[in-house]
């Protein structure tokens, strides 16, 4: 472990008193890894810019326009009103592309994402802000549960290598190769239709409106259990396999032998030495796979008619409501970026090497 390189820590400490392990020696001085965080911030700014630009270009590169699709559904709209709608949506073509791009950014900075044709010309931000909490609650909860269970299980399977626990690997792999939506449909067929344990879809019962009461929260848990469990089961395999493979590599390192030679308990070697190092790549792949998980969840929301942004996106896609589509894509990308930043910060504080470059 590089972290034992004490010259970097100028603070005085008694090595015998604090012990010579990396965990205790570096606890005295937690440095903020500024350079690492700065580099990441630059990258996220760039990614955000790229996402916004893709978002701007997509509907303009493609044929077919939202207003024509809207007019096809509502025939009693005059041509003047149609022109007005185009201006409202920023689709008037007499401006140069660059000018449109500048306008797009200035609207975006003011938090104006346009109006949704599908939802009676309500502002897109309003429509999305109603759906977003449901998605963040469902995906956030399911992802964290799956990551925690998968990583802990992977650590144990890796530690007890060669035992019967190895059988977990093919089972979880099989579950993770099944498409999310099919697993969700099966869960509905089995638990909602046949066993009647859980309701079919929706976030809460018919006739209810969001409020802070125990009954409503009970409703939400009852309705959300099946979709959350499906996401957990479908995404568990990747975490178990990744952690187990990392554990097998880490357990061969010399510092594990040294730790055992020092007479440490197996428990401490497993969680404090092996798992602590094996979890670092896990956090990195957490950051990278969050976009994939969000993609899968979008479809889950359609399967369970869950009122989140995924369902919003699919409805908007079917109705060719471009403003809403763009808004949802932007919000999803933003959420993924925020999740990435959180994973990065966690990584920076867990991995002593990033602290060293920052010092």
């Amino acid at each position: 472990m590089n972290a034992i390189q004490t010259p970097l820590h100028t603070e005085d400490y008694d090595a015998l008193e604090v012990g010579t392990t990396a965990t205790t020696a570096s606890k005295g001085s937690v440095r903020v890894p500024w350079r690492f965080l700065g580099g990441r911030a630059l990258f996220y700014a760039f990614t955000l810019w790229a996402a916004v630009t893709i978002n701007f270009l997509l509907p303009r590169l493609m044929k077919g326009d939202a207003v024509s699709a809207y007019l096809a559904r509502n025939r009693n709209i005059s041509p003047e009103a149609a022109d007005g709608l185009r201006a409202l949506l920023g689709l008037d073509t007499d401006k140069s592309l660059f000018q449109q791009y500048i306008d797009y950014w200035s609207l975006l900075v003011r938090g104006d994402l346009g109006v949704s044709l599908l939802h009676g010309l309500r502002p897109v931000t309003e429509v999305i802000s109603q759906a977003l909490p449901w998605t963040i609650g469902l995906v956030g909860f399911a992802t964290i549960v799956s990551f925690a269970i998968g990583t802990i299980a992977g650590a144990i399977v890796g530690w007890r290598r060669g035992s019967r626990l190895d059988a977990i690997i093919p089972i979880t792999t099989f579950l993770s190769t099944i498409p999310y939506f099919w697993l969700g449909l099966l869960a509905i067929a089995l638990f909602s239709v046949n066993l009647r344990w859980f309701p079919i879809g929706k976030a809460y019962g018919v006739g209810w409106s969001p409020e802070l009461s125990f009954e409503f929260i009970g409703q939400v848990i009852h309705h959300g259990f099946l979709p959350a469990m499906t996401i957990v089961i479908a995404s568990l395999g990747g975490w178990v396999l990744g952690m187990r493979n990392m554990m097998l590599t880490v357990l061969d390192e010399d510092y594990i032998t040294v730790a055992q030679a020092k007479g440490m308990t197996n428990r401490r070697v497993l969680w404090g030495y092996a798992a602590r190092n094996a979890v670092l790549p896990q956090i990195q792949s957490f950051a990278l796979s969050i976009g994939f998980i969000v993609g899968g969840t979008i479809v889950m929301e359609m399967v369970f008619s869950y009122p989140g942004v995924g369902k919003l996106l699919l409805d908007a896609t079917n109705a060719k409501d471009y403003a809403l589509m763009q808004g949802v894509f932007l919000v999803i990308t933003l959420s993924v970026l925020v999740a990435n930043i959180l994973a990065d910060v966690a990584y920076a504080f867990l991995d002593p090497r990033t602290r060293q470059t920052g010092a």
Partner: protein, 326 residues
């Protein structure tokens, strides 16, 4: 003088050819390749294998459970589910492989170049890779696909490929960066070999396992992407694949009326091909990182001798003949 030289070159050529496939020479990979080969054959000979036309409507045989005439039952308008599944294999295989070929080519070009170069050009390509990794792919594909009125399969494959190359590029970049400073590359450079020869002859053979792994991974992702897109109805339901069958089954309420013969087979097919692909990848993983295989074998071997691999105390035995190698 020329004859022995010929033999040498031929044998090295053969061993090189063999070495390129060494990563597939283990039980897991062979099992996976066999399952995959089965599906490829089904896709090729779909016309011969399918007992009926996938769109043949039979109003007298609606919602029928599996029987001797219809091995996997019938749909709401009497179409034969087995024939639909067999014909659906085609779209899945074609899109999966086409998308993976496109994605792997981009991954090799971007990954190897950004790994071989240094300085801002390398960093810029790496940043581009990371952007494509972070941007959520499926929502983007949904939006792009919805902008075509009737997207043909190769467009879907191209979109899936254009969005799915980043992971492979990242892995290849890291490996190329580590290869760049090895002695044999330095020697090739000192010999004055041109860049394309260094990359094609010296580097690519050493990257083959990673390229294969990223290819297999992309096939999996593309198949999941295609079936998902077909299920949610972004892809027109006229081109049959497993996702489309599930779309129809779901729309006609097969899941609520327990018509398992309609919704189980397509999903199980997706799972089977997914398992096959991950078996191939397990095989490649164990070839690249032998610890993954040897760790379990070593632990079992120690257990047979009555030792526990996690024991800190090494049991000293008088008649030890073999020493555990690390």
């Amino acid at each position: 003088m020329t004859a022995p030289l010929n033999i040498i070159t031929r044998s090295t050529a053969r061993s090189r050819f063999g070495a390129a496939f060494a990563m597939f020479r283990n039980r897991k990979s062979i099992t996976g390749l066999s399952i995959l080969g089965f599906f490829v054959l089904v896709a090729i000979f779909a016309d011969v294998l399918a007992p009926y036309s996938p769109t043949k409507v039979d109003p007298t045989a609606r919602f029928q459970a599996p029987s001797f005439e219809h091995w996997l039952g019938t749909t709401h308008i009497g179409e034969d589910v087995l024939s639909q599944v067999i014909h659906g294999t085609r779209g899945v295989i074609v899109v999966g492989f086409l998308a993976a070929i496109i994605a792997t080519l981009i991954a090799i070009i971007v990954g190897v170049i950004s790994g071989y170069l240094s300085g801002w050009r390398s960093e810029a390509l790496s940043a581009l890779t990371n952007v494509f990794l972070v941007i959520p792919g499926l929502p983007l594909i949904i939006i792009v696909a919805s902008m075509f009125d009737n997207p043909p399969l190769f467009v879907i494959a191209a979109v899936l490929g254009l969005i799915g190359w980043a992971w492979g590029a990242r892995v290849l970049r890291a490996q190329t960066m580590s290869l760049r400073n090895r002695d044999f590359i330095q020697a090739a450079r000192a010999n004055g070999e041109p860049l394309r020869r260094i990359i094609a002859v010296e580097m690519l053979p050493n990257l083959m396992a990673l390229i294969a792994a990223s290819f297999v991974g992309t096939v999996t992702a593309a198949i999941l992407g295609l079936t998902t897109l077909s299920y949610i109805g972004v892809i027109p339901v006229t081109t049959y694949n497993w996702g489309t069958i599930l779309n129809w089954a779901s729309a006609q309420g097969a899941f609520r009326q327990n018509q398992w013969w309609w919704y189980l087979p397509p999903g199980l097919c997706i799972a089977a091909i997914g398992v096959a692909l991950s078996l191939i990848n397990f095989g490649i993983d164990e070839y690249v990182n032998p610890r993954l295989r040897s760790a379990g074998e070593r632990a079992r071997a120690m257990k047979k001798k009555g030792l526990n691999i996690n024991d800190a105390v090494t049991a000293v035995r008088t008649n030890t003949t073999t020493k555990e190698t690390r």
